[in-house]
Symmetry: C2
Subunit: 567 residues, 2 copies
Amino acid sequence: MILQHIYDIASVCAAHGIESAIISPGSRSAALTLAFVRHPEIETKIIPDERSAAFIAMGMAQQQNKPVALICTSGSAAYNYAPAIAEAFYQEIPLLILTADRPPEWTNQYDGQTIQQSNIYGKHVLASYDLPVEVNHEDAKWHCNRIVNEAINASIGRKGPVHINVPIREPFYPDSNELVNFPEVRVIKNTPFQGNIHLAQWMSLGKKWQNHTRKAIVLGQMEYSKPLHTALYRFAEKAGIPIIADVISNQHDLPGVISNQDSFLNPQLNTINRELAPTLLITLGKSLISKNLKLYLRNNPPTEHWHISSSEKLNDSLQHLTELIKIDPEIFFGEFVQHVDGKGSFSYLNQWQQVNQVVETAKASFIKMKKFSEFQAFNAVLNVVPNKAKLHFANSMAIRYANIIGAPKNKQVEIFANRGTSGIDGSNSTAVGAALSQKSPVVLFTGDMAFFYDRNAFWHNYNLKNLRVIVFNNHGGGIFRMIDGPKRQPELEEYFETKQKLNAENTAKDFGFEYHCCSNLKDLKDYLEAFFTTSKNAKILEIQTNSERNTEVFAEYKRAILEAFKA
Amino acid sequence: MILQHIYDIASVCAAHGIESAIISPGSRSAALTLAFVRHPEIETKIIPDERSAAFIAMGMAQQQNKPVALICTSGSAAYNYAPAIAEAFYQEIPLLILTADRPPEWTNQYDGQTIQQSNIYGKHVLASYDLPVEVNHEDAKWHCNRIVNEAINASIGRKGPVHINVPIREPFYPDSNELVNFPEVRVIKNTPFQGNIHLAQWMSLGKKWQNHTRKAIVLGQMEYSKPLHTALYRFAEKAGIPIIADVISNQHDLPGVISNQDSFLNPQLNTINRELAPTLLITLGKSLISKNLKLYLRNNPPTEHWHISSSEKLNDSLQHLTELIKIDPEIFFGEFVQHVDGKGSFSYLNQWQQVNQVVETAKASFIKMKKFSEFQAFNAVLNVVPNKAKLHFANSMAIRYANIIGAPKNKQVEIFANRGTSGIDGSNSTAVGAALSQKSPVVLFTGDMAFFYDRNAFWHNYNLKNLRVIVFNNHGGGIFRMIDGPKRQPELEEYFETKQKLNAENTAKDFGFEYHCCSNLKDLKDYLEAFFTTSKNAKILEIQTNSERNTEVFAEYKRAILEAFKA
């Protein structure tokens, strides 16, 4: 078989546990398509728009916690993957990208669907390979096999996207009487090194720990992990220190967790909150959402800041990092708890919990106000999401509302948002990927800009009955009205907020989704129960609000918090 | 003004004659947005989806024959431009890409909307620059100005996209009482060298010319140019040689031009067509569409092949290039006509014209057949397009039908297709760009896959009354049923043809376009006149056909041509 080395890619993938491939249509890529479609251990789906395909694959990989293969034809198809690849790179989600290509002699010859695909994703993949074009010599066969093994190991071990460019000469298709076979292939497994720290170093960290009374843990974006949850809980309980968790850290069910930091770390509350600054800060996870939290920690720097991560990437976004401790956070807290005395400064913990509670109470009474806006609507929906739902939030205002209002507690929900690059380009598709790869309900909270940007997420033939989409439609990028700079410019409406006229109804019709539209709180509350009942296909709930009103209510919320602290 | 160096970019652009900027919403890019919006000599439009924005800008630049500026915020926004940039690179269309960025110290710090933007478009831009971050020193100011001048000169002079990455620190917005000023800026103009050839070289080429009796000119993709048209006409008339023009060469109105090569260069007609092979082949332009023409010229190589181009790129796609003559084709034919005797081999020209005429006659009678299919529908619409229309063709079958059926003659239409990379990703947007930048009617012929892929082309607030879109909806990628390999595979429908269910009606509703659907020839012909009448907004005509039927008819066409030559 001329293309056996292509068919073998699917076998190596399956041997490494890859279960799914997302394919976009193409002829150059036919051998890759057939290899994955015919391989008995891999499930494939076809998605026409490559931009959506890549975000869908990422959403699936996030749920499966293993690479999903992405297959496209040559030419600009490959470039349409790029936004999702950047997101996967920063969110550390494994992906195996297989781009069919023309052989190199055809590059720049004005022949169809040929661009310069080698290393096309630049620094946004962990590794990038070109498969050999001619695979006759035994060494070339060995090379092919090694590349695929190496790429998958990098993607799994270091968590992120890897790219194999696959040049293919005609003929692309087997004859109709020719079978595609999957003989046994060599598999090189990577046993990841489970690092620990030398006892002397633990002791030294323990000593440093004792030098501080004001110690806090801050959690950035993380997937939910039960063992880490347990380790953090035990640690905090013994050490008596505050754990400050943005909503994307997925630790909202941790008892006593601090979650209202975005509200009380407002610079206007400086006289109260400057008492809260830790001298020893421990961070884990990736990005933080709360701008107030980030500014607060930059402006009130700890004397020591340890970042705990099994990756070597240096994340100094709070600008005062003193120690990068390269260890799995679960192991860190599991072990370090032994080196920590039980005499945490509970009064310091209490300070944090008190201000957190002030916001909690003020928020509860604020939310009762009658004015209908995104804030009220967001809260109403969040309160009734199903248990164990996967909650996806688009960027801009959706994820900000979630961080302020907070995840519903004790419902075992998980929170997802594309905070790797914080783009608005792929949130529908990421949620679709989640819905396609597991059975729990997936609830997407999105604004109208992100929703319409990525409508091709739904353009395929796969059932999405476990998907619920809530479109907060204020007919533009409402965030621009909320931030100070643009709202002062005469160009606000046309060039920043970007008024747009679409409603989601026709989109729902196009894809056969149930559709309901609300523009007041009573209608919304009356409908929500029906919205979350099971159905044969996805449902879209469109919540129409007024952008000026939303801005007013958001400002009122901020004032209410200030008032609560004055009282 | 802290951001004066940003505002000055708009001034330099205006001084170089740039008239238009396409902006996507963003905060990091606010200073760029304000600079271009407020500059009195530049017209701006805002397009939310960056993928469409870039193809729209490309469509505008193609009409204006000068760079259009593209402005986006930081992060994955920049990557959404990439497909259009690759297309512009290969189609040689000028574009000035301005991506706002975070300053370099914020890269890889898990802070919002930050990816690695330097050189992000790799080899698909002519040049790539990073603007300095701090512009206090006079040398830094000089550097900024020089970069912008150099980038624009490269884009104009060498025709293609250039990228300036623009890191910007906060504050992004001027105070409300702060004016954005446009003081005079330094402009470095580039006087392009109008090359000619030394007389001795002309003589030498003339001598070589005389050694051949079988000489032909083959035209690849070119924009329409009246002077080149005239030069080609005079040359061909004197030299008496065949000019073989794919539809994208825009020379369909050249008297005696050969346009049916895709039909008669069928390998099954080898006994007839092997007599046609030239010994001296002269080519100009970029890509060829006709696969039969390319294979024919590769398999029947000329002893000499001259490619005439003012660019230095080596295009050897016919595999037997002997001479790259670096000169503007218009100058070449204008001068070379003096070195060519009038004794062209008219019998050789006649051979070509005869076979071309056999196809012309067979096609005319084939088209009368009653079976309704894309072929008939395509022909019916092409016959009645308005004079001076800009005809845009999506990739896959749309442009292939156009090349086989041929452009309508003597209507002064111009033909556009994204044959730089031959992607299906941006054909709506390119046509929208053409409609937005001039007043002639723009008619887009597209299949359903390309149409739905790029619906965001219409998602903005600008009027498109001169746009007509004909969607040939066969509910999938019909081309896969027509080519040999995939049609033999059991995966044909699901994985190659990719059956899709959408109709264009809801899309038309969403954007307030007139919509009409036809599924037989009578309805179509009855409606066409109304379709091309003026209106307040764009119109969509959806032509529903059956994919199996289209494949049958296409095969029947091929058989009819074979029969015509047997007769």
